[in-house]
Amino acid sequence: MHPAASSHDAEFDQGEFIMTLRGAAAIVGVSDEVSPTGELSVRGRALEAKVVRDALDDAGLELSDIDGVCHVGGAMDFAEFLGIAPRFVDSTLTGGSSFEIHLEHAASAIAAGVAECVLVVFAQTPRADRTAAKKAGKSGGARRRGPLFGGPDPIAEWELPYGLQGPVGSYALAASRHMSQYGTTAEQLARIAVSARRWAALNPRAKNRDPLTVADVVDSAMIASPLHKLDCCLVTDGAGAFIVTSAERARALAKPPVYLLGASTATTHRMITEMPDLTVTPGAISGPHAFAMAGITPDDVDVLMGYDSFTITQLLHYEDLGFCAKGEGGPFVESTDTGPGGTLPTNTNGGGLSYTHPGMYGMFLVVEAVRQLRGECGDRQVPDAEVAVAHGSGMVLSCMSTAVLGTEATL
């Protein structure tokens, strides 16, 4: 299933990428913390420290080996908390795709000799935070929004007055447009949620595991038309970490390295009003670039981990990554088995729709892709998986980051 070395040489356009990341770095440690109830008893730095410890143990590394830190909440602050002095820090925050970008940046730094061993960490606990706020007698859940560093806030000025629910409303607009432009149906979108649930049924750590039908999805409460409650991801607590190092060092560690074969990122907008075409995500840029760097085509993908914040999100991934033509995502999910035993195993942990979704889900795409390529997934293991794609989506279809991962055999 993996692309032969010769096809890699033939398909990869060296002229387009002066420097390639293909095979330069590997993921050597992963961990994640989720709960079947959706709520974790540990949060904040304690939770981050737990997933860091687990990822280090998984890799057979110590904190003293880490010389790079990526953290959406501030890499400098987290390095201070850990008491280390990294020479590479990255606090890139693009929402859910941040972690695929961290992976891309970590591999770039490693390839350039700027760092050797980079830690990426994430924790978000909306449920535990609400419980803690209640205990403290505060009204939980209230979130202030605004620009991070002051300055104009076009969302507040041009979108908020109209009462679009965030983030579901933006995705609903994309679904509305896809339906009217291409004839996509609610039942077709529902199939994506059903497929994710079939995977979750095989994952004892998933939040929602009960059987789900297309009728269940389309009969669930409408939240923002055309999206129903069961078209929407979960809201759970969750945390994860992974460690990236050079290919050379990775081979000396205990577990089989999972190599980064290709990576690319693209962003086209921040607010949905500014999205150039509501049916085309920036994944149509990042996906083909990452696949070209990796020297693969969609046919080579054994496991697709696509950010499924909503069913429409995953439908757009199928199109933009080239698994089907633009506009044909609806018929594609009708004719393609993306569930267990299917031809395109997608979101094998159960996805954001049924496994976990703390708000920024991209961490879990990488963790599951690595576990599949190591063969650690038990009942949900995809046989002989050699190429996996982690495709992150940030904000409101704003920023896509695609990472192609492969086993030793794919190099």
């Binding site: 104009p152 806030d153 076009p154 507040a156 000025e157 041009w158 979108e159 908020l160 007055p161 109209y162 009462g163 679009l164 629910q165 965030g166 409303g169 609903a172 607009l173 994309a174 679904a175 509305s176 447009r177 009217s180 432009q181 409460a221 409408m222 939240i223 923002a224 038309s225 055309p226 999206l227 949905i272 009003t273 500014e274 509501l278």
Partner: protein, 169 residues
């Protein structure tokens, strides 16, 4: 751009987030006091700009920026019926329609895509591609918020009588 019926439009006013102008957009919001929708243009690039910016995003110049009034004619690009309020103050308005509208930019047949509401219509009767016309909802400080009503065939409108503000542009 003037629509006398706007006074009879159910005011969302106090229930909505109040728009927060910047130095650049002050002109736009002040014009809404006269129920005028101003679209920012770069005359050097001959291109409309939305949202209004400090400079033209094509040439990065500020000296060729100007404002042109829209006719108020628009077309729905995408829409979503909100079955839950975006914030508690809008709870009694549910279900309401949020749409992206391609609005006449006031020159050269160009449009700008803006977010707004489609009002005075059964949400189930709203479709992408529908023609809509601009109406104004008063805010509590004398400014107005641009929203739209159906302007297509009478069968497509709630009361069959609204052609928005499109006739007096």
């Amino acid at each position: 751009m003037t629509d006398e019926r706007s006074e009879t439009t159910e005011p969302f006013g106090p229930q909505r987030f109040q728009p927060t102008p910047t130095e650049t957009t002050e002109v736009f919001w002040e014009a809404t006091r006269n129920r005028t929708y101003l679209v920012q243009w770069c005359t050097a690039c001959d291109a409309p700009i939305f949202y209004p910016r400090e400079v033209c995003p094509q040439c990065l110049r500020s000296d060729a920026l100007t404002w042109r009034p829209s006719s108020g004619r628009g077309q729905i690009y995408a829409h979503s019926v909100q079955h839950r309020p975006a914030h508690p103050g809008m709870a009694d308005l549910v279900p309401y329609v949020v749409a992206l509208v391609d609005l006449d930019a006031g020159h050269g047949g160009r449009t700008v895509r803006i977010m707004s509401n489609i009002t005075e219509v059964d949400p189930g009767d709203v479709h992408n591609g529908d023609a809509v016309g601009l109406v104004w909802e008063p805010l509590d400080d004398g400014r107005h918020l641009a929203v739209f009503t159906p302007a297509g065939a009478p069968a497509d409108t709630a009361a069959g009588a609204h052609d928005g503000a499109t006739s007096d542009a």
